[in-house]
């Protein structure tokens, strides 16, 4: 499946998951956080401004750790190198090499822990 198709599928799925959780929950203000299958776990972190971060991990990593990683990713990488860069448009795919490098460095440092 091409990257584009996969992105659209994931986006559509997240949208349906959010509305599904809202309807089936005993509390309507509930928010979807993650799901897991027998092979992988998909974790989503949504900021109050509506930006969603999605990560697929193996099942070995505990759930709370992945949520913390996504939160620090937002705080340390996205806000610093994407939002604060006024040359970047956040509505199109992010095209900054600095952002990509910082993102890879962040992930590698987390993997070494």
């Amino acid at each position: 499946m091409s990257k584009d198709e996969e992105n659209k599928l994931v986006y559509g799925m997240l949208h349906s998951l959010k509305s599904f959780v809202g309807r089936i929950s005993p509390d309507t203000s509930d928010a979807f956080q993650s799901y897991q299958t027998n092979n992988y776990r998909l974790t989503m972190y949504e900021t109050p401004s509506g930006v969603k971060f999605v990560m697929n991990t193996s099942l070995e990593l505990p759930l709370q750790a992945t949520r913390d990683i996504l939160h620090s990713l937002y705080k340390e990488v996205y806000v610093e190198y994407a939002v604060k860069n006024h040359m970047l448009s956040l509505q199109t795919p992010i095209n900054s090499d600095l952002f990509k490098d910082k993102l890879e460095a962040f992930i590698h440092s987390k993997m070494r822990e």
């Binding site: 799901y35 897991q36 027998n38």
Partner: protein, 192 residues
């Protein structure tokens, strides 16, 4: 009980009931719907006196007004819709897996609850909505599967794929759930 117009809630009536769309007051939150006006139960969008509820609420002359809100239970149709939405989500999760040959969603976590799903070899899915700290769900789901095969499938009067209305199934299901509730060990650290 609201003493004056306007009330601090935004109401909408697009689902056939008057529901709270936004705003909160006391225990009333978005998602609750109007069940009684001035202690008289409502039917659909009309009060017991056949007046549209929204008109009564928007009319300053009807205050002080007592409105009772409740959480509506999902209707059978809504349950079917939610189940089919889950069925598709389950399948998509298996497709977008970064690893080959993934099963569908086994667990789904949100802030307030966890949903656990069990798929049988025939493709039937059983899912339960439990608290985060609930253990023993695999066992519970398998017991439910056993009950399903015993009391539903072996019932010659049960129309396949229709909503289940078998009394024995319901009775035994209730027994199994009570058993799980009794044997759930509450961790003393979490009670504090």
């Amino acid at each position: 009980t609201f003493p004056t117009h306007p009330i601090p809630l935004v109401l909408s009536s697009d689902t056939g009931k008057v529901m709270v769309k936004f705003g909160a007051s006391g225990n009333v939150k978005p998602g609750h719907s109007v069940t009684a006006v001035n202690k008289q139960p409502v039917s659909g969008l009309y009060t017991a006196n056949d007046k549209p509820i929204l008109d009564v609420i928007n009319d300053p002359a009807s205050y002080p007004l007592t409105i009772t809100f409740g959480r509506t239970k999902a209707s059978a149709n809504e349950k079917l819709m939610l189940a089919s939405i889950f069925h598709s989500l389950f399948a998509i999760a298996a497709q977008i897996s970064p690893v080959e040959q993934s099963s569908g969603i086994k667990e789904l976590h949100t802030e307030k609850f966890t949903l656990r799903c069990f798929q049988t070899i025939t493709g039937v899915k059983f899912f339960v909505i439990v608290d985060q700290k609930q253990t023993g769900c695999e066992h519970l789901l398998r017991r439910i599967y056993e009950l399903y095969t015993d009391y539903v499938l072996k019932n010659p009067f049960y129309p396949i794929d229709m909503p289940i209305r078998c009394e024995l199934f319901d009775q035994n299901l209730r027994k199994v759930i009570e058993q799980v509730e009794r044997t759930t060990v509450y961790n003393s650290a979490t009670l504090a």
